[in-house]
Amino acid sequence: MAEFWVNMGPQHPMTHGLWNLRIKVDGETIIDAEPIIGYLHRGVEKISEVREFQKVIVLTDRLCYVSSITWSHAYCLAVEELMGIEIPERGKYLRVISLEIQRIASHLMWLAAFGADIGLLTMLLYALRERELFLDLIEIMAGLRLNSNYTRVGGVRNDVPADFEKSCQRVIAHFLKKLDEYQDLMENSKTFLMRTQGIGKLSKEDAINWGVTGPNLRGSGADVDLRRTIPYEVYDQIDWEPAIEKDCDCYARSIVRMREMRESCRIVLDALKKMPPGPYRMKPPRRAEGEAFRVTEDSRGEALFYVAADGDDRPYRVKIRSPIFCTLAAVPQMMRGHKVADVVSIMGSIDICVGEIDK
């Protein structure tokens, strides 16, 4: 059969946003693939250069609406490093709690999209139903559901209400029960295993060389969780285990995310228990000079903010390292030799978020 290019996108159910994956197929077999991105480029890095340090958070929130707190937090860390300030202990704990709640919400969004991708539309409804609960928790914390603008340079925006711990415990107890159900729905389904096992192999060495990070790297068997490798905030004082799978395929990546949700629940509960009283925010200086960078474990991988300043109250240059942007480079290698239907399994298991790719 003749070889021809098929555009998967920009308007396509698989893409989860606005990007285009051109695949070259021979009948059903993929010979080559080429991601085409940039449809959603908003110039966040350029706009940041004319906004004050604190006001950039509004932009970093919108890098990825699915996990806005983690992105703002990465930016805040970098700016705090630049200014040389240390935030109060309670602020750190509040950040960890909000980060993990956001991570669960983001992973649930992934679960929903992954289910819909491989044809299990019911999963979409189930996962979004549970995501609501975590969005509600974020709303209780921050006042907003999606672009919460919660972490600030110097701490967090506000303290949590008095009964927050109780609502967290209730939501998590309910969620863990449901999570068992979802794992049942996926892991015990022969069809699901057929679609994911052995698909999209990416060995550990390849993954590191291609710059793949986060759950995708842990699915390839690398023991890299930046929350543990390069601890920030108070992750080194909290009791948790990174999730690592050795199979290197779509199945391993999905299991890593499932297990990460459990670990995030554990972190939230533990952090709530260990959270000290005290101030949650400090006043940062207005101006800064020099350059600084910090890496954090975003829900999709390694997020790096490099901030340079020239003594003004605005950053001179903000550079965002988006994990999925780098992972996309490895996509053609993962796809070659698989079938057209595997495109959705592979892209679904990577967890695409176009907002952060295109910046």
Partner: protein, 402 residues
């Protein structure tokens, strides 16, 4: 004792209806002192013509409106329930109820939603792609619709509720259903779109490989019951099984149990339901071979998929589940006619809808299988097992065990 609601049969009923109607027409013309025109209307040829016209209309309406709408409604309600939501709820209160003045409500059963969707599709523009092969692009939906309606020409709903009685009815249904793949591949090619092309190719590959086990299973059933006539096939299944009160439905006989499972899987594949819906996999091929169709043409393709599901389920019920056999046949006499309380049509529709619901249940709870895996299942598993079924049926037939 005939347990059917219709006596003597559909065409007979339509004939009496036609005679009454034409009698009224004749009376009108007689009153207008045009007796020649009036008597032409009751001449045998005209009566037969109008009888079959009305019978066709009734059958098409019954199949394509009543059952299509209710199958769609069942599907939408059921999968909404599986997904923990209520599904379509748009409703209009009865004119005599107090809520009628408030108009449409969101707390209804939602049965009218499908009609609303159909009206919406009718209002939409029928877009034909500029570079499409116009003739084939227009012919493909017509082939699908007509071949699906053809099924109902011979598919009996009870002993008396049928359009025609054909001795080769089962073969006819299979033949009509087998025209679908050709129309799908035509639609896939003529749209001049890569998604539809891949979808059409997948459809062709899949249907070719799944029609074989389907027909092989039917061969096993035919071997045991010794007929291709759906009526006799059901009659064979009526007698009790080995002296018990359980009826001897084909599904209870050992070789046919396997055949039932294979037939069911092949049917799900033939109907493009989710574990095997690779020709129109919406996540990878947008909508597969239906991508370029719009308006009511898409509505036809989409709706007649359900009608095919209904017809396939009906065939399954006739072949394996004892057709219209039901346990209770209490009758009440109304104006001298014996009217059964639970007529054969009830049992047939109950079984058919149960089969449809199982298909829906499966398709909303497991992911889609990949194209090459589908073919692998078909050729490596189902066909050998179907051949085994035929072997088993032949052994049972020769030994006279069943």
């Amino acid at each position: 004792m005939s347990g059917s609601l219709l006596t003597p049969n559909l065409v007979g009923l339509c004939r009496s209806l036609t005679e009454i109607l034409l009698g009224i027409v004749k009376a009108i013309f007689d009153a207008l002192s045009l007796p020649g025109v009036g008597s032409w209307f009751v001449s045998p040829g005209v009566v037969v013509f109008f009888t079959y016209l009305i019978a066709t209309l009734v059958m098409v309406m019954w199949a394509a409106l009543v059952n299509l709408l209710s199958v769609m409604w069942v599907e939408r309600k059921l999968y909404s329930r599986i997904q923990d939501r209520r599904g379509i709820m748009l409703g209009v209160p009865w004119p005599w109820s107090k809520k009628y003045k408030r108009g449409m409500t969101n707390l209804g059963w939602g049965f009218l939603q499908n009609i609303a969707d159909g009206v919406k599709l009718l209002q939409k523009e029928n877009i034909t792609p500029a570079s499409a092969d116009k003739l084939l692009f227009h012919a493909a939906p017509a082939i699908i619709v007509s071949s699906t309606i053809m099924v109902f020409a011979v598919l009996p709903f009870s002993e008396n509720f049928y359009y025609t009685k054909v001795a080769l009815g089962v073969l006819f249904v299979l033949a009509a259903l087998s025209l679908g793949p050709f129309a799908i591949i035509l639609a896939g090619y003529s749209s001049n779109n890569k998604y539809t092309l891949i979808g059409g190719l997948r459809a062709a590959a899949m249907m070719l490989s799944y029609e074989i086990p389907l027909i092989l299973c039917v061969v096993a059933v035919v071997l045991l019951s010794g007929t291709l006539d759906p009526f006799q096939m059901v009659a064979v299944q009526e007698r009790p099984l080995m002296g018990t009160i359980v009826p001897s439905w084909n599904v209870f006989s050992p070789p046919q149990m396997l055949g039932f499972v294979i037939f069911f899987i092949a049917l799900v594949a033939e109907l493009e339901r989710i574990p095997f819906d690779i020709p129109e996999a919406d996540a990878e091929l947008v909508e597969g071979w239906t991508t370029e169709y719009g308006g009511m043409r898409f509505g036809f393709l989409f709706g007649f998929k359900w009608l095919r599901a209904f017809a396939g389920a009906g065939l399954l019920v006739i072949l394996y589940l004892g057709g219209w056999n039901g346990p209770v046949f209490a009758t009440v006499s109304v104006l001298g006619y014996p009217i059964p309380i639970l007529p054969q049509e009830f049992w047939f529709l109950l079984k058919t809808y149960l089969v449809v619901m199982v298909i829906i249940w499966i398709s909303w709870s497991i992911p889609r299988v990949r194209a090459d895996q589908v073919l692998k299942i078909g050729w490596n598993r189902l066909i050998p097992l179907a051949l085994l079924t035929i072997l088993g049926a032949a052994v049972f037939k020769t030994m006279g065990w069943f």
